[in-house]
Amino acid sequence: MEIYNKSIKKSIMFNKDSDYYFIAYNIILILDNLKCYEGKSKFYDYRKLIYILPFISNEYLLNIAIKNRKNRENEIKILEDIYINARLREPILKSILFTLEKKGYLTLEKNATRKCIDIQLKTDALPDRYLNSDLFKIESENIAYFKKYYQRLSFITLESLIDKLFKEKGVIIWDV
């Protein structure tokens, strides 16, 4: 009974938004769909990933982000939550990226001019059947939509991404 309770406790404590694998697969999919591969192009400033991630994984949130008309009060509240949570998850993102680098799936590189860290996926490191799994169809579509509204995703700076995604929509940003 005791052991059972403990396993229950652990599964109740499960939170998909801060699950390492959840973040990991979304990062990989973003990088893969933006074609940030070694020798081709870079994803400038890894921190952007954690802010893009929620919109890729949830269609409802995506629709809020790509809406043309003004956002409603409750939608701004949702965006605010996304911003704060993303900001708080930056350290997790870092350790996940280090793990992925350690396992040889991507490379992290210091960018002296921009003073940030850039990412590239390693070619042929990830199994094809994994990347092309039917399960990830929705994410790929979401990324394609997102790209249309927020162009040059891999290139723009973190600040301008946050401006576009949150600030311009009425979310108060902690400018540090």
């Binding site: 998909k16 801060s18 390492y20 694998y21 959840f22 990991a24 697969y25 996940i96 793990t99 350690k102």
Partner: protein
């Protein structure tokens, strides 16, 4: 209990025939060489008692050719059960046995059909005073057959002696063996308490099934009743319904009387202002109800929407967890043993954190999940989708109900409005039409209510019948359970004393056979022999171990006539199994000594013949002093059991 004795066995077909000598009480020996038909002889006895014989089954590969290929063949046996003589006739390839008793012939089926017919085995067990009990093993129901008991009466050659019990019928998909069954066989043969116990178990199972049927009926009834709008049948009392009907009827009577008054004389029209006031009040009431129902409906819509939202999110989460599992399986990135700084794998000592401090392993919440844990999470999410669906369903049910209510209210509103219009006209015409119409409407509604209540009453009545049946079966089950408890205790006590007695005889019989056997008893759980505390493994002694087992059963029944064992043994040549001649002869001479012991103990000659053993064996493979028990001719290659018939010559 009943005693079985075989006097004669005969075989007759178009090509072969055989007639046994007359068998006596006590020991009877049929001797013959291997392959001369000793086993066929045993098989014929076995067959004539309604049992299945593989060698006689055309569908089998190893068959007894002479018999299977013979035509119009049958076996006749003359048997005694207690003092009564019966003639059994069984044709090959027929599912019947003809039993002749006092010149009257009755036929019984051999294989048990679906319905409850008395078959041959039932007849035989009945005569032997053994009750035919029913067993439930899992969901399968089976009845005790004579063939089951015969497994401890017929010592055959084919069974590996270690197994003690003769192999049960096992052809392709028909297997009737289980440890449970073997235990039952022993218990049924050794004690009469057990037969009553199993009878009770059978009854209990029957009642349980009955209860189950009632339950299903009840559920179905409730479901249908609720579809017709009669809910809550459990809580409504018949008296309440009756009182309600009475009250409504009274109201109806009053209305009808009033209506008659209104119609008969038109002296003074009712006060219209008062009437309008009344109707307006009614209208307001209905409108208020209408509003509140509408509110409820709106709230329900909102609730359904939010549940559906949650459901969608949960579905999304389910797909995401599936992706997490895929990623975990394909990339295997994180484990609880990853150093948070260098991200290398750490060899962690069980019960210690990565930092080296002692921790409770299960409290070490790492937030890394194994595949199993992810799957468990996935399952619980999928389950919550089911729950949400259920919630949506019940909301929809309520919604439907409220919407019909709303419709009714709208109609009422409409009716009241119409009545108000009528009153206005009445005032102009100085008539009573509105009042009359109102009464009519009320009367109509009342009648509807009464007829629905009447139906409800009938439904409730029927429901009560089912409930009554259910409680009475439940009570019966309780009673049987109580009886079963005491019976179980009695049966256990009985079998314990029987086992003690069995052990004493068994031990005495076996220790003499070989000097290195110093203790023999049976396991109290499964009744299988334990020799020298389980350490004795000499395979060549397996035959005497089994043979003495059968003999002990026989001896017990001779000593205590209350024991159901039918005081009959059929033993088929154990000598071919590679045991040494010494052991066999010793075992066989035990048969003789055994019967002698009885004589010595009470000096009563009659005791000696209170059993029958039919034994087939090799030529002279038995002790000298047994030669007087030999019956009939010796069988050999040139003098087989079955004798070929001379072809009849055409009459000149």
């Amino acid at each position: 209990m009943g005693r079985l004795k075989i006097e004669k066995i005969m075989y007759e077909g178009d090509n072969y025939y055989f007639e046994s000598p007359k068998f006596e009480e006590g020991i009877n020996i049929i001797e013959g060489e291997n392959g001369s038909g000793k086993s066929t002889f045993s098989n014929l006895i076995n067959f004539s008692l309604g049992n299945y014989v593989k060698e006689f089954d055309k569908k089998e590969s190893k068959v007894h050719k002479e018999i299977v290929n013979d035509t119009n063949n049958y076996v006749v046996s003359i048997i005694y059960i207690d003092e009564n003589r019966y003639k059994l006739k069984r044709f090959f390839n027929d599912n019947r046995i003809f039993v002749e008793e006092n010149g009257e012939i009755q036929d019984y089926l051999i294989h048990r059909p679906q319905n409850d017919v008395k078959i041959f085995s039932d007849w035989l067990l009945d005569k032997l005073g053994i009750s035919v009990v029913e067993f439930y093993q899992g969901t399968a129901k089976s009845k005790l057959n004579f063939a089951d008991l015969f497994r401890l009466i017929y010592y055959d050659q084919k069974t590996v002696p270690e197994k003690i019990y003769k192999d049960s019928r096992n052809d392709r998909n028909f297997i009737s063996d289980s440890e449970f069954m073997r235990k039952v066989i022993f218990q049924m043969l050794m004690g009469h308490e057990f037969s009553e116990y199993y009878k009770l178990v059978g009854e209990l199972n029957k009642k349980k099934k009955e209860k189950n049927d009632y339950k299903i009926k009840e559920e179905g009834f409730l479901k249908i009743a609720s579809e017709f709008g009669f809910e809550d049948l459990h809580n409504i009392g018949l008296e309440d319904l009756e009182a309600k009907v009475k009250q409504k009827r009274l109201q109806l009577q009053r209305l009808e009387k009033y209506e008659a008054e209104l119609l008969s004389v038109n002296e003074k029209p009712t006060d219209s202002t008062e009437k309008v006031r009344q109707l307006k009040k009614r209208l307001i009431d209905v409108e208020l109800l209408f509003e509140s129902t509408l509110n409820k409906i709106n709230r329900l819509y909102k609730e359904i929407k939010s549940i559906e939202n949650i459901k969608e999110n949960t579905i999304l989460e389910v797909t995401q967890i599936k992706k997490i599992i895929l990623t975990h399986e394909e990339l295997n990135l994180f484990s609880p043993n990853t150093c948070p700084y260098c991200l290398n794998n750490v060899e962690r000592i069980e019960g210690h954190c990565i930092c080296g401090k002692e921790i409770e392993e299960s409290e070490y919440e790492k937030f890394f999940y194994s595949s199993d844990e992810y799957l468990a999470i996935l399952k619980s999410k999928q389950k919550s989708i089911d729950t949400l669906n259920l919630a949506i369903e019940s909301c929809n049910d309520e919604l439907n109900y409220l919407e019909t209510e709303l419709k009714k209210l709208a109609e009422q509103k409409n009716n009241v409005q119409k009545l108000i219009e009528e009153v206005k006209e009445d005032v102009q015409r100085n008539t009573n039409v509105a009042e009359i119409k109102d009464i009519e409407q009320q009367r109509y509604a009342l009648k509807g209510e009464i007829s629905s209540l009447d139906q409800n009453y009938k439904v409730k009545q029927n429901f009560n019948e089912i409930e009554k049946g259910l409680t009475s079966t439940e009570n019966k089950i309780k009673k049987i359970n109580a009886a079963l408890k005491t019976k179980n205790k009695e049966a256990k006590e009985e079998i314990e004393t029987k086992i003690t007695a069995f052990n004493e005889i068994y031990n005495n019989l076996l220790v003499d056979i070989k000097e290195d056997i110093n203790q023999a008893r049976i396991n109290e759980e499964n009744y299988m022999p334990i020799i020298n505390g389980g350490e004795y493994k000499e395979a060549s002694v397996d035959v005497p171990i089994r043979l003495m087992y059968f003999l002990t059963l026989l001896k017990m029944s001779v000593l205590d006539s209350k024991i159901p064992f039918p005081r009959f043994l059929l033993i088929d040549t154990p000598e071919s199994l590679g045991i040494d001649k010494d052991n066999l002869e010793k075992s066989i001479s035990k048969l003789l000594n055994d019967s002698d012991i009885d004589n010595d103990s009470d000096g009563d000659k009659a005791e000696r013949s209170d059993f029958q053993i039919i034994l087939t064996t090799g030529i002279k493979k038995y002790p000298e002093e047994f030669s007087s028990y030999k019956k009939g001719r010796s069988l050999n290659k040139n003098n087989k059991l079955l004798i070929k018939k001379e072809k009849k010559k055409q009459p000149n």
